[in-house]
C-alpha cells in the first residue's frame, strides 16, 4: 500500500513541526496547516491528501467547523480528531459528524500510526470501490 498522505492541522506550530518530522520519518507524506482556513486551502490545492489530523481546539475556525467544511467539500477525505481531555465531548460530536476516530493529546506514536493506516485503508478501499464501480459502468456501457 502506498504510504498515507496526511494533512496535520493545529495552531501549535512546534507541535505540528515535530509531528511532521516524526511522521515523515515513518515514510508518510505530511502537509502542514496552522489553522482551519489554511487547512481547507491546502486540501483544495492538494487533492491527493488521504487524511486530515485535526486539532479540535483552535482559534478562529475550530475543529468542528473545519470538519463540517471538509465533509462538505471533500467527502472522501478521512478525519482523525486530536483533542485535550476537556473536549472529548466535542470529539464524540465530531465522530457523529463523520470523523474516523479521535485521539487524546499527547498521543502515542504507534497508536497514531495504526489509526492513520486504518483510516487511509478505509479511504483507499472506498476509492477503489468507486473506481471499480465506474469501471463497471464504463464496461457495461460498451456493447
Amino acid at each position: 500500500m502506498l504510504e498515507p498522505i496526511v494533512l496535520l492541522v493545529d495552531d501549535e506550530a512546534p507541535f505540528v513541526d515535530t509531528m511532521t518530522k516524526r511522521l515523515t520519518k515513518r515514510k508518510l507524506t505530511v502537509f502542514k496547516s496552522y489553522s482551519g482556513e489554511e487547512a481547507l486551502e491546502t486540501l483544495k490545492e492538494n487533492s491527493q491528501i488521504d487524511l486530515v489530523i485535526l486539532d479540535v481546539k483552535m482559534p478562529g475556525m475550530d475543529g468542528i467547523e473545519t470538519l463540517k467544511e471538509i465533509r462538505k467539500e471533500f467527502p472522501l477525505v478521512e478525519v482523525i480528531m486530536l483533542t485535550g481531555h476537556a473536549t472529548v465531548e466535542t470529539s464524540i460530536e465530531g465522530m457523529r459528524l463523520g470523523a474516523f476516530d479521535y485521539l487524546m493529546k499527547p498521543c502515542d506514536m504507534d497508536v497514531l500510526i495504526e489509526k492513520v493506516n486504518a483510516a487511509t485503508k478505509k479511504k483507499r478501499d472506498h476509492e477503489e470501490k468507486i473506481r471499480e464501480a465506474r469501471v463497471n459502468v464504463i464496461l457495461k456501457a460498451r456493447p
Binding site: 507541535f15 515535530t18 516524526r22 485535550g84 493529546k105 506514536m109
Partner: protein
C-alpha cells in the same frame, strides 16, 4: 449564674425591646379603650341611679315632714277656731285637750298654752311650770302677731330644751290671742333621723341662719347663715330637690341632697360621703383596676417572653444564613478554583504534548546509524523513555483535573432509572469483559420515573460499576445491579463479588481524596462525588462489605408522590 448565655448584641437587644413595646402597645390600646368606655358608661349610669334614688328619698321625706308640720298646724288651728278663747283659757279644759291630743297623736305635743295679745301666757297645760311666762320678746310671738300662724325654728327657750312652737293667732272682741303648742323635738327628730342610707348617709334640717333644726347623726358645725352656706344666698332656691357634690373641710368628697321645707324657711339636707354612696362603683373600679394590673403584668411578661423567644429564633436564623453564605462563598471559591485548575490543566496539556513529541523525535533520530555507535546511547534512550513516561504522567494529572472540574449537566429531568441503568451497564460491558466480569441487571420493571439530573445519575452508576470492575480485575466476578421499590423510596443495589473493603477503610470511603488505588490510578473523588449527588437529591447511599465475599452499595432515592404509579 448557672446559665452561660451570651449577652445579646445591641441590635438584638433593640429588636427585643421594639417587639416587646409593639406587642404591649398593641395589646394595651384595645384593652384600655374597651375598659375605659365600659367603665365610663357604667359610672355614668350608676351615678344617675344613685342620684335618682337619693332625690326620691329626700323628696319623699320632705313631703313627709311638710305634711307633719301642716297636720300639726291644722290641729292647732282647729282647736283655736273651734274651742275658742273662753274654753281654752280655762287651764283644766286645756289640760284635757292636751291629753286628748296626746292620745290621738302620741306625745308629739308637749304642751299647750294660751297667750294674750300682750305676750302674757294666760293658761298652760304641760309638764313645765310656765303659766305666768311672758313671750313678748320672742321671735315667734312677734311673728305670730303679724301673721295668722307661725311655726318657729328650734330653740331652747325658757325650759332650756330644744323644741319648737306652733302658734295660731285668733281674735276675740278685737283682742288678739294666741294658741301655742310645743312640738316634741324627739318625735320630730325621728322623722329626719330615720333617713339613713349606707354607712355615712344621714339627714338634718337647717334654718335660714344655718342652725340645726334637728340633731345630726354626726356632730359637726355647719357654717352660719343662709342654710349653712349650702347654696349661694343671692340665688333664689328652687322648690325641687338639688344635688351637689363638694369637698368638706377635712377633704372628703360628699354628696349633698337638699330640699326646701316649711315655705322655704328650712332646708332638709341629706349628706353622704361620695365614697360610701358609690361604694359599689368603687368596688367595680377596684376589681377592674386589679384585672387591668394583673392583665397588664401578664401582657408585659408574655410580650417580653415572646419577643425574647422570637429574637432568639431570628438570631438562630441569621446565624444559619451567615453560615450558609459562608458555604456559598466557599463553594463559589471552590468552583472558581476548579475552573482555574481546568484552564491551567488545558494550557499545560499543549506544551506537554509538544515536549513528548520532541522527545519522540529525538528517539526517532537515535535509531539512525550515526548514533548507534555512541557509547551513551543507552543513557539517552533511558532518559527519553523517562521524559515520555513523565509526560504521560502529566497528561494523566491534567486529564483528572479536567474531569474533576468539568461541569456536569445538573438540570432536572424526569426519566426512567431502569433505562439509565441499562445504558450505563452497556457502556461498561466492554471494559468488564476484559476484566472477566459479568454485569447482570435485575430491574423491577414497574418502577416509577424519577426527577433528577440524568448525567449526574450516570456518573454515580458509572463510578460504582467502574470501582467494582477495578476491584475484581484480577480474579473476575459478577456485578448485579438491582432496582426495586420500598414504600416511597427507590432502592438500587450495586453488588459485586470482589475482595471486599477492609473494615478499617469502610468509614472513609466517601471522604474526598481518599483512595486505596496506586498513586496515579485514582483521584479519590469518585465515591465522594456519588455521595454528594445522592445526598443533594435527598437520598442516601450506604455500603455493606464482607471481606472475600463482596461489597454492596445501596442507594435510596425518595419518590415524590405525584410520580407514584
Amino acid at each position: 449564674m448557672s446559665k452561660t448565655k451570651l449577652p445579646l448584641s445591641p441590635y438584638y437587644r433593640s429588636l427585643t425591646l421594639n417587639m416587646t413595646v409593639a406587642i404591649i402597645v398593641v395589646s394595651f390600646i384595645p384593652v384600655f379603650l374597651v375598659g375605659s368606655t365600659i367603665y365610663y358608661n357604667f359610672y355614668a349610669s350608676y351615678r344617675e341611679k344613685v342620684y335618682a334614688h337619693l332625690e326620691e328619698l329626700v323628696e319623699k321625706h320632705r313631703q313627709q315632714i311638710d305634711a307633719f308640720l301642716v297636720d300639726k298646724l291644722a290641729d292647732i288651728r282647729f282647736l283655736s277656731r273651734n274651742l275658742g278663747y273662753a274654753n281654752l283659757s280655762d287651764e283644766a279644759f286645756l289640760q284635757s285637750t292636751l291629753a286628748s291630743l296626746q292620745r290621738n297623736y302620741r306625745p308629739v305635743f308637749v304642751d299647750l298654752g294660751v297667750v294674750n295679745g300682750a305676750g302674757q301666757q294666760v293658761a298652760y297645760a304641760g309638764p313645765f311650770k310656765l303659766t305666768e311666762a311672758v313671750y313678748t320678746e320672742t321671735d315667734w310671738f312677734q311673728q305670730a302677731m303679724n301673721k295668722e300662724y307661725v311655726i318657729s325654728d328650734v330653740f331652747l327657750g325658757l325650759r332650756r330644751l330644744p323644741h319648737f312652737i306652733i302658734a295660731v293667732k285668733n281674735t276675740i272682741n278685737g283682742e288678739p290671742w294666741i294658741l301655742r303648742a310645743t312640738i316634741d323635738f324627739v318625735a320630730f327628730n325621728d322623722l329626719v333621723e330615720n333617713i339613713r342610707v349606707g354607712e355615712t348617709g344621714f339627714a338634718y334640717i337647717l334654718n335660714r341662719r344655718g342652725e340645726f333644726q334637728t340633731k345630726p347623726l354626726i356632730d359637726f358645725v355647719p357654717s352660719e347663715g343662709c342654710y349653712g352656706h349650702f347654696f349661694d344666698c343671692e340665688k333664689e332656691l328652687n322648690d325641687g330637690v338639688t344635688i351637689a357634690e363638694r369637698e368638706d373641710d377635712d377633704g372628703k368628697e360628699n354628696i349633698y341632697v337638699t330640699a326646701l321645707l316649711k315655705d322655704k324657711d328650712w332646708l332638709l339636707v341629706y349628706r353622704q360621703e361620695s365614697a360610701d354612696a358609690f361604694s359599689d362603683l368603687r368596688r367595680a373600679q377596684f376589681i377592674s383596676v386589679v384585672i387591668f394590673i394583673v392583665g397588664g403584668v401578664s401582657i408585659i411578661i408574655m410580650a417580653s417572653m415572646l419577643s425574647i423567644r422570637q429574637v432568639g429564633r431570628i438570631k438562630e436564623a441569621d446565624r444559619a444564613k451567615e453560615l450558609m453564605n459562608e458555604q456559598v462563598i466557599e463553594t463559589g471559591k471552590l468552583a472558581s478554583i476548579g475552573e482555574l485548575a481546568a484552564g491551567i490543566a488545558h494550557e499545560i496539556n499543549n506544551p506537554v504534548a509538544i515536549m513528548v513529541e520532541e522527545a519522540g523525535w529525538i528517539q526517532d533520530l537515535l535509531e539512525e546509524e550515526d548514533f548507534a555507535r555512541s557509547e551513551n546511547l543507552d543513557e539517552f534512550e533511558r532518559a527519553l523513555k523517562q521524559i515520555n513516561t513523565q509526560g504521560k504522567r502529566c497528561k494523566e494529572i491534567t486529564h483528572k483535573l479536567l474531569s474533576f472540574a468539568r461541569k456536569t449537566d445538573a438540570r432536572l429531568q424526569e426519566f426512567s432509572i431502569n433505562d439509565l441503568i441499562e445504558e450505563v451497564v452497556s457502556l461498561s460491558e466492554q471494559r468488564a469483559k476484559y476484566a472477566k466480569v459479568i454485569i447482570t441487571p435485575q430491574l423491577d420493571a414497574s418502577l416509577p420515573s424519577i426527577q433528577a439530573s440524568p448525567s449526574e445519575m450516570q456518573q454515580v452508576f458509572l463510578n460504582l460499576i467502574n470501582n467494582a470492575v477495578d476491584a475484581m480485575e484480577r480474579q473476575g466476578g459478577e456485578i448485579v445491579v438491582a432496582s426495586r421499590r420500598e414504600k416511597n423510596q427507590l432502592v438500587i443495589e450495586v453488588r459485586d463479588t470482589g475482595p471486599g473493603i477492609p473494615p478499617a477503610n469502610i468509614d472513609r470511603i466517601f471522604d474526598p481524596f481518599y483512595t486505596t488505588k496506586p498513586v496515579g490510578k485514582g483521584t479519590g473523588l469518585g465515591l465522594s462525588i456519588c455521595y454528594g449527588i445522592i445526598k443533594k437529591m435527598g437520598g442516601d447511599i450506604s455500603v455493606d462489605s464482607t471481606m472475600d465475599e463482596g461489597t454492596t452499595f445501596v442507594i435510596k432515592i425518595p419518590v415524590r408522590e405525584e410520580h407514584v404509579g
